[in-house]
Amino acid sequence: MFQRLPNASGERVSFTIDGRPAEALSGDSVAAALFANGVQTCRSTPVSGAPRAPYCMMGVCFDCLVIIDDVGNQQGCQVRVRPGMRVETQNGKREIAR
């Protein structure tokens, strides 16, 4: 659904989405990197279980919550993707131990 602008530039960054290898450009937020990799939904809500995807991309809506390097409820749009980062979609509530 999302495509990079033709003049997008930056170094390639390798990370994983739910254990699968993925690539982003340096400077991408995790949320942008998910979109660039065709991810449609990144989490489900804690009460009703409805699917959610990054929306505001500026730290306000909290719809882009994901698990990053074993820590749940991270705002994907507020974290830059780093080499080797493990990003996981989050189903419902976060686990307290991660």
Partner: protein
Amino acid sequence: MSAHNRPDYDIAVVGGGLVGSATAWGLARLGQKVAILDEGDIAVRPSRGNFALVWVQGKGLGMPEYAGWTKGSSDRWTGFAGMLRDQTGIDVHYERPGGFMPLLSEAEVEARAAQLSRLHNQPSMVRYDYEMLDRAAVAKEMPYIGKDVVGASYCALDGHCNSLRLLRALHAGLGLHGAAYLPNHRVERIEPRDGGFRLITSAGELGAGKVVLAAGHDSARLAPMVGLSAPVRPERGHIIVTEKTAPFLKFPVGYIRQTDEGGVMIGDSFEDVGFDTTVRNGVTSTIAERAIRIFPLLGKLNVVRTWAALRVMSPDGFPIYEQSTSAPGAFVATCHSGVTLAANHALALAPHIAAGRLPEEFTVFSARRFDVPKAA
């Protein structure tokens, strides 16, 4: 009272918080024509800020009748929640898994054991079981307790609910029972007249055969208008709520509990600061630190909200229920445990008010107990 002079309502309940709503719901359920007079959004509203425990253990030292009243309400809660669900479709998520009061030193263990022993040794104390548990027994139920937890007291009667849903269910139920909820009707004056009452509000006057003052802090102002007294004062409590988390804590643990929707509530502060609901960071960090000592895992969670609310406290901390002698259709009901006692207000107090007389066993809850001159 002649037919043409019939008041607008059988009963006017002043206050739309948990005490007023539960009492009004119980009255409307019995077929009384009820109006609930509430203030607007600027009112001090403990019913929107409480901790949602239905708690029994430790209550009633100095007034064993209060322990009995509390246990009675706890015993009625399952049925009460079922009635609300059947009537409104709203599940208030009442659970009664038993509650722990965590203790972080041998001194705390000794003090708690002595306090509960004194409580249960009172003459005419209601009988129920509680246990003092050592660390191993607590860890058996909650393996993730912190190393500082030395033990806990436990009582199987303790529970909790979703108190915002409780308030919503009561209001929905009031509507279904045909009661009139009248917000933005601050009561300015109450005049006993013709065996009934005229209530002069910010939005007009109305008449009622009886009046119930359940206005929380504002009952202190209103009670003298009908020959009653409600010397209540605000006591500030802070609450912290974390992000929603997968269920890990089944039990209410003193001032820590996980809600049905996953957030963890922490609320363990008591301050006498008047009508000030400002959140103080020093207080929230202190209660958060203690909570983390009890459950170190909590340290990983993000806080999503903090707030402060004002408990409605009488001079001895026990409820006030009283019927006016000068205007016998007027009643006052106030307490700081509007959730725990909601079942009793709806199912045990309301029928007496509908019948027009508080029986003998309520005498102990009269505000006249505060009239004793202070000893030199």
